[in-house]
Symmetry: C2
């Protein structure tokens, strides 16, 4: 953090590659710093120049006498390692590396990137980039991007594309009152990753919201942990591109980052409180809205319009976003009827039906009635407001302005937001400027206005559920059981990278999971005795380190009810196994109770490249295998996440009691998901776990089969 | 059509309710007509005025000596019936009724609406509206909407909301070179429906594209038939609001129309060639694009960008829209490499990587290479083009303009479209004006630009598949079989509104469908004899007009293999039925072969309120009942639609041979869907049909059970 502070609030900058040639980045950098009113030290560095823009130019950074916080390196990739060593010797905290030609350019570039990172670490210099557009601190004028006219404000911008940033800055300038506190082009994230910048912005009191454009994350889990800490205090609005395979291909050639499973990314971003955006048009407006307005405490919003078309489209779009448009209370409706014409709709959406044509101040009165309704968490106003003076009569301008003042104060007093869509936004009427002054954003687009309302509600829901959320942190090994550690150790000792079914179940049972009891019978006599202990019909299954697919080897016999059947089955299984694989080591047969009827579900875990351990859930058979009706979560799970991932699959109604059959034990299932989460956390050695099937009964569940695969190398738990 | 011609190309208009009060619609109407340069006769009508805006004012329309084509009625709802009678006597072809207070205001308003329709029909006056914003003919200045400054052009606008129209017109004015040929506010569609206007626009040679905003259709099927005839010649771009239940509630209070099943509407709109829009931001841009550019003949497009972020987001968005971003040919890549820097991406997306910074004319050269690639059907250019003079150096302006000329001609020559996204669009640089002059639309939004590219491809695919499309027309009864007609007649004669299973199957078989053969056995002897004829194991099922759910009544016995079993089963079924319902009329038992194994699917038909007969398909059991994995189509089906509706369900892979089982007979299934379509077309008496289950084998299929329900009243087939 100290490093980042010295970088982003640098008091002095060396511009390496400074130039007198106006077309060069090294000229623009010095010019922009001067133009942006940066009051710290600016030290051009270039052995071939004496002065640049009136400033003394140094041969190298070590020649500078004064202390230097930050270096901007504008020279080609190949020069960077040597320069970083000099920066280190000079005691410079960080270097912003503009050049491309690193990891994004294939293996050779990757080697160069590794080299600069090594050099930087050896010399204790932190790196921004490489392949970055630069950084800006809007409050000190530290502008290393070469963009002027960036509006100042409270949104921090963290971006992996200079052009997207340019897009957002242009939008902010043209169509809002908002601006930026910092700009960081993260580039290839070689050294400093998204999470460190995020932590800086979390602590920075000039920043109220954080806007992120990301193509690929180097370390998804650390990012999520930092997001979790930040999002409650400051909304984080993020667009992740490279969601699709073609998008990933494009992102790969752009930043060299690996794009992960988009489904896992999406759900975990949302769990961590991120407002996730897929359409670039929405990115800045949602950031503007979330940094300006109180959030919506529920899913319930009202629509106030001066035309049926806008009201109807807004209803569709808000419903698509998961919001409700509740009917207003009788009291609210009666009050609206008093001030609106008889043909107005007053239930919600409220359509003033010409009631505002002669007096747009009516909007403020309606807004007050609507926001006073306890059922309503926020309001969208859609239509012509702001244009009544243009559309009807010039004098209406003053009534619109009066309405704007009233609505602005109403938002402050009620703590409920208003978002306004106006057909006349681009004409820039004063009434709309006034609304913005009060923090009420105005959009010409109904798509964008509704999306902003949706984001206010989404964020409100996150805040209210915050205390039930996971931190995304693992306490590796803390809850490990001795017996289980020993089983894993034994498997390693035997050279196995997997656990036998009975071992996997033993581990699960040691954490309280209802794995079906099974015992290893080495002889037919053993099997008969164990079956008697278990009681009822049993199943026998071959145990051999050399046979993974038991059924294929004729190694499973079901529904064995008496001694003869059991003996007979035991011998047949052993014979089949020998025939299937003559050199197989055969340990015996598992004896287990026949499973009761129920619905078969599947729970699996694996290690995602970007996010670490993740869990999958689905209902067995065609629903998982053909329809791909599954849910994913990054581990660990909270109690809420566990029950959500059960309910969000499309086939969930099967578990709720389908066609008159009783409801199944979703609580036990949810508990099992939490146990699976705990098991993964306890044994970092586990690479994959597969509980397939788990039988869900109306009361209780049974893990009928379990498989665990270990990582290539043993892992020592760390906190 | 003659009527509509006299209305939309009226030579003379009576303005009923003309006024000298500037705030009145009756004043604005006369003023707008004069201002719009309308050269026909304008006849103000108001018994209380002598002159309005310098024109003689008449007491009523019958006082006017000259012939009058059209009346604009601006007076309240209650005055309309009397006025229509006068219009009829005067020989006026049509009346545009502005007033609200009809069907959209509940039952009382509905009665008034019925009354004006009756009066209009009696007096041979056609109605536009009521509750309409009016109509405009941009070519004659016939402007009855009260909007001035509407841009003239080749897009016809058909709208159910005045404010949405105002929105579209404002957008056209601010951000395009395009304009409108006609404007029609359809209002409540009391008399003239969407389809008649559509037919007019199809024949109108000033109109090149048709833009529709609809909340609810009065007659979906006639609309689809008209769309089918039109969309091949002129693209139709449509936003249907009231898609969601809250949207429907809002639309209901707005136009009084019934919103239909949105899924059926969506798929049938697309089958008829409509470009269906859900987001209002896209509505005008897509119309602009489709009316300006050649369509894309395949799904393959290229992206050319001057920044990785835009390229990556565009890839995601185009992929979401179902487009492919094919790798360019080796030859194209080599040519691009010749003109771009070494770090540029040349495979597709093409990222110039700074290669255009000093010379934006490079865009035109890249575009030529890319559009010459046989694999590419169209091009999206994204980023800063148009702003190089602003961002880099003023003199680059001329190079951008040169590039714009080249790209405009390239589109004309190649017949492949270019859509451009520019961050600098709102600055209105001349180069972007030039592009628009050549018909290349420019958008600031990447969301919108990509959606336009998607629409060009969607429309191109429709055009290329046009000859395989249904016309949505029924030839009712043309293929009816005598035997089947008799069965329906008999059921009616017996007072039944349904057919017995064996009757329904008989009808299906008479059209060649593979309904399992079953025979009615009145006695146990019959049953034994019939079983011998069939051969193999059989099933017996009760036949009684009083027992619909056979299994519940103990009326089904499976797997009967010999005479004893059959006799025994027959008696038990009859006994069970008598016990279940003592007064049931029992006709006997059906004897049928035991069905072979296979996958059970469900086919059902019903009559949709808006679109008439529709068919549903799904795989039986939880996939239909819980996951709701079904597909819908409006009937009749084309061969393509039949096979698409099988393939588009999520569980379709089950039919393709799942887990090593053989692929099932999708061709026979597709044929059965066509037969079902033919059966519905043959017997307009059928209200609902339910084939459940149909067993699909690896070779052939069997309809195991069939049910048909008849309409309340017999229907006489009409063509």
């Amino acid at each position: 953090m100290e490093d980042l502070h010295r970088i982003l609030n640098a008091d002095s900058v060396a511009v390496i590659g400074a130039s007198r040639d106006e077309t060069k980045r090294g000229y623009q950098a010095v010019a922009t710093l001067k133009k942006s009113g940066f009051e710290g030290g600016i030290y051009p560095v270039n052995p071939r120049e004496r002065r640049v823009l009136g400033l003394r130019c140094y041969a190298d950074v070590e020649e500078i006498k004064e202390p230097v916080d930050l270096a901007l390196i504008t020279t080609p990739a190949s020069t960077v390692p040597g320069l970083l060593a000099q920066c280190g010797r000079k005691g410079i905290a960080g270097a912003v590396i503009i050049a491309g030609g690193f990891g994004e350019m294939g293996p050779q570039g990757k080697r160069l990137e590794d080299e600069i990172l090594e050099t930087a670490r050896a010399h204790k210099v932190r790196l921004v980039g490489p392949n970055t557009s630069g950084i800006i601190n809007m409050w000190t004028g530290l502008n290393l991007v070469g963009l002027s006219n960036v509006p100042k404000g409270d949104i921090a911008l963290l971006t992996q594309s200079g052009n997207i940033a340019l897009h957002l800055i242009t939008e902010a300038t043209l169509r809002s009152h908002k601006g930026f506190s910092y700009y960081v082009g993260v580039g290839n994230e070689s050294d400093i990753h998204f999470d460190e910048y995020l932590e800086f912005f979390r602590r920075d009191d000039k920043t109220k919201a954080i806007l992120i454009y990301v193509e690929g994350l180097r370390d998804g889990r650390t990012f999520l942990q930092q997001v979790y800490k930040t999002s409650r205090q400051k909304p984080i609005i993020l667009l992740k591109s490279g969601r699709t395979s073609t998008g990933q291909k494009s992102a790969g050639s752009h930043t060299g980052a690996l794009a992960g499973i988009s489904e896992v990314a999406r759900t975990s971003f949302e769990r961590a409180g991120i407002i996730n955006i897929e359409h670039p048009d929405q990115l800045f407006p949602v950031a503007e809205t979330l940094s300006s307005l109180p959030h919506i405490r529920n899913r319930k919003v009202a629509i106030l319009a001066d035309g049926g078309g806008h009201a109807t489209i807004a209803s569709d779009l808000l419903t698509d976003l998961g919001l409700e448009i509740p009917t207003l209370s009788e009291r609210s409706q009666a009050k609206l009827r008093e001030i609106l014409p008889h043909n107005a709709s007053v239930s919600n959406p409220v359509d003033v039906a010409g009631g505002s044509d002669a007096n747009p101040e009516i909007f403020a009165r309606c807004a007050r009635i609507i926001l006073n309704d306890a059922n309503v968490g926020g309001l969208l106003i859609a239509g012509l407001f702001g244009g009544y003076a243009i559309r009807f009569a010039e004098k209406l301008r003053f009534l619109e302005e009066d309405a704007a003042h009233q609505m602005g104060k109403l938002v402050q007093r009620s703590g409920k937001p208003i978002v306004l869509q106006s057909l006349y936004n681009s004409v820039k009427p004063h009434s709309l400027e006034l609304l913005r002054y009060y923090g009420i954003p105005v959009y010409e687009s109904l798509d964008i206005a509704t999306r902003c309302v949706g984001a206010l509600s989404r964020y409100g829901q996150y805040i209210s559920a915050y205390k039930y959320k996971t931190t995304f942190e693992f306490n590796w090994g803390a809850k490990a059981k001795k017996k289980a550690v020993k089983l894993i150790h034994n498997a390693r000792a035997e050279g196995r990278r997997y656990l036998f079914e009975h071992e996997a179940k033993e581990i699960l049972r040691s954490h309280g999971a209802p794995a079906m009891r099974e015992h290893l019978a080495k002889t037919a006599d053993d099997a008969v005795r164990l079956a008697e202990e278990i009681g009822g019909a049993v199943v026998l299954k071959i145990v051999s380190p050399d046979i993974l697919h038991k059924s294929d080897a004729g190694g499973v016999r079901l529904n064995l009810e008496n001694e003869d059947q059991i003996r007979n089955a035991f011998h047949r299984i052993i014979d089949n196994a020998r025939e299937y694989k003559p050199d197989a080591v055969i340990k015996g047969c598992l004896v287990a109770s026949m499973k009761k009827k129920g619905v078969e579900v599947i729970i699996g875990t694996k290690i995602d490249r970007q996010f670490g351990p993740v869990v999958m859930f689905g209902i067995g058979g065609i629903l998982v295998e053909v329809v791909r009706d599954v849910s994913f979560r990054v581990l660990p799970l909270s109690r809420t996440a566990a029950s959500r991932m059960i309910d969000e699959i499309k086939s969930a109604p099967i578990l709720n009691g389908f066609r008159g059959s009783p409801a199944l034990d979703k609580q036990a299932l949810s508990q099992l998901l939490l146990t699976v989460s705990e098991v993964v956390e306890s044994y970092p050695d586990i690479q994959e776990m597969d509980l397939n099937p788990v039988i869900v009964h109306d009361q209780g569940i049974d893990i009928a089969d379990a498989r665990m695969i270990l990582k290539k190398e043993p892992v020592v738990p760390k906190g």
